[in-house]
Symmetry: C2
Subunit: 512 residues, 2 copies
Amino acid sequence: MTEGASHRRSGGRANRQSTRKSATTAREAYLTRLLKPVDLVTDEGLEILEHNAETILEEIGVDIRDYPSAIARFKEVGASVDGNRVRFPRGLCRSIVQATAPREYIQHARNPLNNVKIGGDATVFAPNYGSPFVHDLDNGRRYATIADFQNFVKLSYMSPYLHHSGGTVCEPVDIPVSKRHLDMVYSHIKYSDKGFMGSVTAGERAQDSVDMARIAFGGDLQDRTVMTSLINASSPLAWDATMLASAEVYASNNQATIITPFILAGAMAPTTSAGVCAQTLAESLVGMAFTQLVRPGAPVIFGSFASSMSMLTGAPTFGTPEPALVLYTMASLARRLGVPFRSGGSLTASKLPDAQAAYESAGTLIPTIMAGTNFVLHSAGWLEGGLAIGYEKFVLDCDQLGMMMTFGKGLDLTENGQAMSALRENTSLSHFLGTEHTLANFETAFYRSDTADNNSYEQWLEDGSLDAAQRANKMWKSRLAEYELPQLDEAIDAELQEYMAKRKLDLPDAFA
Amino acid sequence: MTEGASHRRSGGRANRQSTRKSATTAREAYLTRLLKPVDLVTDEGLEILEHNAETILEEIGVDIRDYPSAIARFKEVGASVDGNRVRFPRGLCRSIVQATAPREYIQHARNPLNNVKIGGDATVFAPNYGSPFVHDLDNGRRYATIADFQNFVKLSYMSPYLHHSGGTVCEPVDIPVSKRHLDMVYSHIKYSDKGFMGSVTAGERAQDSVDMARIAFGGDLQDRTVMTSLINASSPLAWDATMLASAEVYASNNQATIITPFILAGAMAPTTSAGVCAQTLAESLVGMAFTQLVRPGAPVIFGSFASSMSMLTGAPTFGTPEPALVLYTMASLARRLGVPFRSGGSLTASKLPDAQAAYESAGTLIPTIMAGTNFVLHSAGWLEGGLAIGYEKFVLDCDQLGMMMTFGKGLDLTENGQAMSALRENTSLSHFLGTEHTLANFETAFYRSDTADNNSYEQWLEDGSLDAAQRANKMWKSRLAEYELPQLDEAIDAELQEYMAKRKLDLPDAFA
């Protein structure tokens, strides 16, 4: 048994989960970074990209598809309209965003201890989003169900390193498309007390999400943001009615949206990273401006999702150098704009939790932190280019998130951190294990991984020669076995169930 | 078959290896970083650490064990001596280093195309060092032999992303300790034409290394550095005779040394990272000053190797947050001192090339690059805390080094990089696959991994459902099958063999 696994056993209830990290470190609701974000591109370079984005908006414009009211909103503030194509005077969208979009906001959770700050020096980790498949070592890959969905909500709730319950952690394909948003929102409320995301697959489903959140949080939401939902562009340079309608519902209710161009470079944007950056900025500016026209001051996150591509097969590729460069650059551009930034995660094209999965995930997650990203979707579980969420991958990724929680605090230069007392005590120049300083720091020294095997080769053989995925397989099962429901007022629960039942009667059983 | 693997098949000779990266990118002898190194600690924080290092040298001092001539050298320049304990006036070691140690130097290789710059904006990747065991998927873990050693020299020679042949890539335990340095140096010269490292396990073995390099390079070496060798401190705060004697041989012959405190934090240094940093700086300053007293101007690298520790078992741990923080900090301290910096690599405690190995390796390698490290030992192959080198791990790591070669170039902001022509061409807002810009950039767009499987799940199933390690298993075998010897003058080869034969007659068959 590894030290991590034996350590892990001490925890049962979710409010004791912090013992999984280290015996004495209290759980943080989100990461407050003490490290300064890294800007890889100079101010001059960033100005070029901002200039190019404005040129795109002015000369090429964006298509607003099947949503005339959005076109009308833009026309009213000075955009020129030619059919669906909307072109923007230089700086228009930027000035709209900068006039009213908040630099940071609080997303309230059912449990106030899980309220998260989004923006500034805060980083919030949310799990995987949108996968139709699940993967585990026992059964391989199969379609996801609502049971899987609830499992991942539970695992996210139990992880001290996930700060948010996420949204469509996987697609519960056993429930009709027209109805599953109800079960998803309900599951987040029922099985977790962390913040969550609402539905965006139709305006009315966004409205259902808002209505259910009103029940869960008790009353009007105009004074507090309790959902942060994902609004994707239809790159290149287009926004469709579904996403804009959902964004409109959320913004008008003071709920947050993540305005994200989702770009496979080479197909939905130019092959070169600077081209991807300028296009992403242009697309996102339009979406963010839209939310501010709907409701000035509605919380909005600048999102960027960029993957590279195999030029031989057209397949998306992850954890490669180019998306990392895009990520750093977009984070810098978001800081200059003055809004929270979403990107990154633990991305991979691998089909299973192997070395490829880990290299690619780290190749995304580490830049995510270094760049000072504020909201990190897909922090845990992502496999196969997002087509699947993996149980073992989820456990392994959470451990990496824990490492980032420690790394983000930077070098401790307090007197205890400097440790001169330890050096002065050890005048015989023997080992430091017995120094007072070491004993005083024993409990908090070093991040303790719960998935790594650091034992001797002989001990590892004796423990069954397991690889990391095999150890993680045991861990997610024991965690689910230990899960306990968070408190939920019975009247609220009943009202939510009643709302769902009524809506399900109204809605057709559509599966697509 | 993955795109990478089929692509890889085009190469046979080492001088065609660059095709493995991308069809049109020429191989670089080393990485010239265009990204600015990241300083995670403020100048004020770095000054505290420098102050603490001087306090350590002044108050506590270091032990110089069994090497009176080194003590005499330090006494002569103003150190105070008490038995083995040597204490240094504040700033003495620093001023000695800064007076004469070069900021950067060229290590010459047998093939001048493989000369590498060490220091400044250059990063040089060298393979694993020092493992008594080897690991592969077919045979598991076993003791290394000279055949393994030669295999890894060949694989390093063939990788476009390894810039250096390394030193003790593994311990050829089938050859007596007293003689194996001869076979190792010979193998580097014979099976590769990249730069290499000499022996440091005894002064006379260092001298053998110098003598063999003289034969290989033809004559005196005072005008050129052809070896960079690894000199480790006996932390905490001690230097032993073996390492100092080897350092003396190399420095006096104008050959480079890497002066490296090898620290398991908590045991050989305080548990806290800032304590590790101050101690590392103190130890390294003494070793570097020693080389400058031996021969002012001898190339010397400031090395730092720091691992964290399991506080429950005492086992070393890798890829964790604390060593990454130490790495960034030491790189900043080396820049302030003005000498090249060595640290990092692809480190892991895992016994096999699994997700743990990859996460931990990336958790070391990415900081290595971000911090602007100049010389990277253990770039490829490291497993099990350095006890083993893995064939599959080696192949997987090399792919990551390739990614770093691309990442280190930063964002391309040329006119082609900005890609405004692509955006202007695509006025219908369809995909970019057919634009002139995409076609013009087809060959160079995106780093092409040769180990990742980015295919569809169905294609991956059809290809045998292999994980990354299983794909790498095929790759190292086919690479070794394709290996061809680099040119070596027959007279030089004969002279080297004669030297070895003569020395082996002189030396006893010691195995420890």
